[in-house]
């Protein structure tokens, strides 16, 4: 028997805990691969899949001849004939047109008033009615096509009438409004990705290591191995830190793999959407720098929650609201779009990551002040949660498993 008086090195103990948790987790093959590879596999599928779907939609709806029900086609044979030249063809109208459109049997229909011919000859605006349900976004393209064709017809005939009366048609246009869109084509095409890309990256960074994080605290307590562990001379702070570092490493590894697969799938994808994203190594590096603090925040928050849960099940019950948190800024921004200049945005968790990632994927770089505020706030939050987790580990009731 020895009388122990040796001071145990804090770093050596930290590494012992860290290595043990990694080894333990790596031996749980399925969970390990799931945690590491789910993000990297989902990403290309999503990107390639969405690109394909969008291309398919455009080519079918934009270029295919459009067949629409026209009521009263006989009142305006010229208009119908003109529409036909625009690849918009008439077909017999169903009995209940409104019901057919509500049921999505038809996307859009045209109703021509019985007095169309009379008004036309009198030189008064002849009435046609476009019937559609604007809340159905799959009808957007057909509606636009029909409306565009009708406007073109109206403009053309109107101009001809003026010319016939010896008037310059340009007289009717007092102001010539043109629009110059300064958005780069890349940014335009990246709009959809600007919602989806940050959300998925943030979600994987925040929750990627969730399983391991919960397992090393709540799971360890449930399996009754926490009490013996806490009876060793290791300080609680070192113990939590070692466990968190192991979970954090898995989280960071998963984020790196996800970013690499993002780069790879953007290179593979032929769609304009994917090729518009900035996937150069500097951009990927910036995204990693944005996401790394979030991995720490997620790991620390989950450790804090797990240390207050009696079982794995109880800890997992928190997943629902945790998953929801990264989505909140996305929804909030849809309802209330914000300019991304104000500095306060870079201090708000999840909103800040969202804004930073959007910038990175648009090929822009955040200003030094924005970076500074983002990193200081995110790392401060992670540190506060880490301290809170250590505080919970010091609670007496943590050790008691039953």
């Amino acid at each position: 028997m020895k009388t122990p008086s040796l001071k145990i090195s804090v770093f050596a103990t930290f590494m012992t805990v860290f290595r043990k948790e990694l080894r333990d987790f790596a031996r749980d093959r399925r969970t390990f691969l799931m945690a590491l590879l789910l993000g990297p596999l989902v990403y290309p599928l999503l990107m390639l899949g969405m690109g394909k779907l969008m291309e398919a939609r455009v080519s079918t709806q934009l270029e295919k001849p459009l067949e629409i029900p026209i009521i009263g086609a006989a009142y305006a044979p010229n208009l119908v004939a003109w529409l036909e030249t625009q690849d918009i063809r008439a077909k017999p109208a169903p009995k209940d047109l409104v019901a057919a459109i509500r049921n999505q049997d038809e996307d859009v229909a045209l109703v021509i008033a019985p007095n169309f011919g009379e008004e036309w000859r009198a030189g008064r605006p002849a009435k046609v009615e476009v019937v559609a349900d604007t809340t159905r976004s799959n009808a957007d393209v057909p509606i636009e096509r029909l409306r565009g064709a009708l406007n073109a017809y109206s403009g053309q005939v109107g101009a001809l009438r003026l010319v016939a009366r010896g008037v310059n048609p340009a007289l009717t246009q007092s102001v010539a409004v043109t629009q110059r869109d300064v958005a780069t084509p890349e940014a335009k095409q990246g709009r959809l990705m600007s919602i989806i890309l940050p959300l998925i990256l943030v979600l994987f960074a925040f929750m990627g290591g969730a399983n391991l994080t919960m397992d090393v605290t709540a799971g360890e307590r449930e399996r009754q191995s926490l009490e013996p562990l806490l009876a060793t001379p290791v300080s609680r702070g070192v113990l939590v830190s070692g466990k968190m570092a192991a979970a954090g490493l898995i989280g960071i590894a998963s984020v790196i793999l996800t970013l690499l697969s993002f780069k790879l799938s953007a290179a593979m994808s032929t769609s304009a959407m994917a090729s518009s994203l900035d996937v150069s190594f500097p951009a990927i590096g910036r995204m990693l720098l944005v996401l790394a603090p979030l991995v720490l925040i997620g790991t620390a928050l989950l450790t804090f929650i797990s240390a207050g849960s009696k079982s794995m099940k109880e800890a997992q019950s928190h997943m629902v609201w945790l998953m929801f948190m990264p989505m909140l800024p996305g929804y909030a921004l849809m309802a209330y779009p914000l300019k991304d200049q104000d500095l306060w945005q870079y201090a708000v968790p999840f909103l800040s990551q969202n804004q930073m990632l959007v910038k990175a994927s648009r090929g822009e770089n955040a200003s030094p002040e924005q970076w500074a505020i983002y990193l200081v706030c995110a790392i401060a939050l992670a540190a506060a949660l880490w301290l809170a987790a250590i505080w919970r580990y010091r609670q007496e009731k943590l050790a008691i498993s039953s």
């Binding site: 020895k2 122990p4 360890e220 562990l229 050790a399």
Partner: protein, 248 residues
Amino acid sequence: MIDVQNLHKSFKTKTGLVQAVRGVSFTAHDGEITGLLGPNGAGKTTTLRMLYTLMSPDQGTVSVDGIDIQKDATAVRQRLGVLPDARGVYKRLSARENIAYFGELHGLDAATIASRTAKLAETLGMEDFLDRRTEGFSQGQRTKTAIARALIHDPKNVILDEPTNGLDVMTTRGLRNFLLQLRAEGRCVIFSSHIMQEVAALCDRIVVIAGGEVKAIGTPDELRARAGEENLEDAFVQLIGSDEGLHA
């Protein structure tokens, strides 16, 4: 040596404050086995948890080899080998890896861990499952692994909470011999039990606990004399006032 003075501990529950331990005092000497005997719910586990610094007492002091647990908990933990009530092992690690992990946490080097593991495996009879992953271990194999990892750092003081719980007869016999060996090596051994026969057969000194209080302390002979009973088991029942929660 472990010295316990006037320990108190209470818990808040939904039904109010429960006083789990009320003024427990005793001394456990080196080279002796001290048994804590009492029915289930007597406060044995709570008392032991305060000894191994997992809980801090509301009142009272504990010193291990003269070190106050509230002043230097780390030094106390280095001197203690603990088999808690909870004895889960890491099922994806082998028994040897489980033991080595605790050895490293105690700051031991690889060579020391290897030689101590070999010695403990021989004494506890765990050579044939030492390198197997602990998933699917029997209760006895798990307990042996838990004991080996608790003693890897060669502690002077050993605390075991109901060590024979759930073990079969052969394993229990082996474990009793192991405790006697620890005593022969001059260690201070404390274990708790609700099995009267076990305490009677092993202990040099018995602390009878019921309702969070010490009902009697002494050698088996002293307890017999005090209760006025020839049979030690009758003496226990008499001292506690009931045989509820005890096991012959």
